[in-house]
């Protein structure tokens, strides 16, 4: 082989090898659309606005037929009292079904505890619900395909298909799943899928008098929730788990997990 040919062949080989196979693959427009659909439900919680009335919890339970007296709930509100000495005291009796009406904090087996007003540095409420994660742990661990994510981001449970193994309840880092005491299957917040799919609002957001809860389409740049998520400082819970939560919080403290 001549020196000239060798150089030519080498150059051709290197150029050819540098074009990776994936670059030659034809892009299917449908696949791109499926990855970026026009609708992705997201939720916005403003912790400054929440007053701990618990009307959202009550409305959620009635709307979704979760027994009021059973100590399980799809959404709940937590109270955080941060003392001037740095101690964090929190409670959520019955998930705040009946709101916060007393200064006593329910510390479970250690009883009720009162924190004097003069010792309080910060005190606030944080509503919690399913984060409808972009990569939901609970869906990944389901052995029978009973829980899944829809194209618009809602994580749902197929009640006919669930075998009640409880893997999803164990897997969820946010503890939002529970056993439905009547249906005997895993249950969770659906973002009120029956309401939002038919042009309505979620029951909790509708019941909230202060606008602390909002649902919206994160793909619509004119949506109020999308605007806030894009344009303001918002936080998510337990980002370190890599679940990419789609419930965003305004005014999140490091004490809240």
């Amino acid at each position: 082989m001549k020196r000239r040919d060798f150089m030519k062949n080498t150059a051709m080989f290197v150029a050819g090898a540098s074009v990776s196979l994936s670059a030659l693959e034809l892009i299917d427009p449908q696949e791109v659309l499926a990855a970026n659909p026009e609708l992705r439900w997201g939720f916005l919680v403003d912790t400054h606005k929440c007053v701990g009335c618990g009307l959202c919890v009550k409305a959620c339970k009635i709307e979704n037929d979760i027994p009021l007296e059973a100590n399980v709930t799809r959404t709940w509100v937590e109270r955080y009292v941060i003392k001037k000495d740095g101690e964090v005291v929190m409670d959520s009796p019955k998930g705040a079904l009946n709101g916060y009406t007393s200064k006593l904090l329910d510390q479970n087996k250690s009883g009720m505890r009162e924190v004097a007003d003069k010792d309080i540095a910060q005190a606030f409420f944080v509503p919690k619900l399913c984060n409808h994660c972009e990569t939901p742990v609970c869906v990944q661990v389901c052995p029978v395909g009973a829980t899944y994510q829809t194209a618009d981001g809602a994580v749902l449970v197929d009640r006919k298909w669930c075998i009640g193994c409880g893997y999803c309840i164990m897997g969820c880092p946010y503890g939002v799943r529970f056993f439905h005491p009547i249906e005997h299957v895993a249950d969770k917040c659906t973002f009120c899928y029956h309401r939002i799919s038919n042009g309505g609002n979620t029951a909790c957001a509708q019941a909230c008098p202060f606008g602390a809860r909002k649902i919206g389409n994160l793909r619509d740049p004119n949506d109020p929730v999308a605007k806030t998520v894009m344009g303001q400082r918002v936080g998510v819970l337990r980002d370190e788990y890599g679940t990419k939560p789609q419930v965003f919080y305004i005014g999140l403290n490091k004490e809240v997990h």
Binding site: G52, C53, G99, Y100, T150, A151, A212
Partner: protein, 156 residues
Amino acid sequence: MKKHVWRPLYVVLGLIGCILVFRMFYIPDDFGTHDRGYTFGYHRLSNEQEWKEYPAKYKGTEYCKDCHSEKVESVAGSQHAMISCENCHGAAFGHPEEPAKLTIDRSRDLCIRCHSALYMPTSGRNDIPGIDPAQHNVDSECSECHNPHNPSLEDM
């Protein structure tokens, strides 16, 4: 090889066949990998529709307005304007046919959800007028003095 050596194999093959036939009938046609791929979207597609058809219990203020427009408008001018009707009057599911009358929650427990005074310096709770429910007219219902549709203290 002798026949009795092969026999267990036929049994196993038969069992596998039975399972495959059972699976064919048991698993619905729409069960499989959908929008979110195998990891997140492996499910029975018709379940999405089943969830969409779940009956809604709360109808919203607009629904109430169709018949009770004068009540809705009277609240709209008060400090309680942002409270949705159904928070106190109950979910409107089935109303006005069945039930014809909704049960109104007039309990103190409902009012003190917001109006029990708590010291919550970094929350909206601090901006709401509050009382100590253990001290403030313990034996009365709030609505005996305060009109929930117009709670202004000047108009009392």
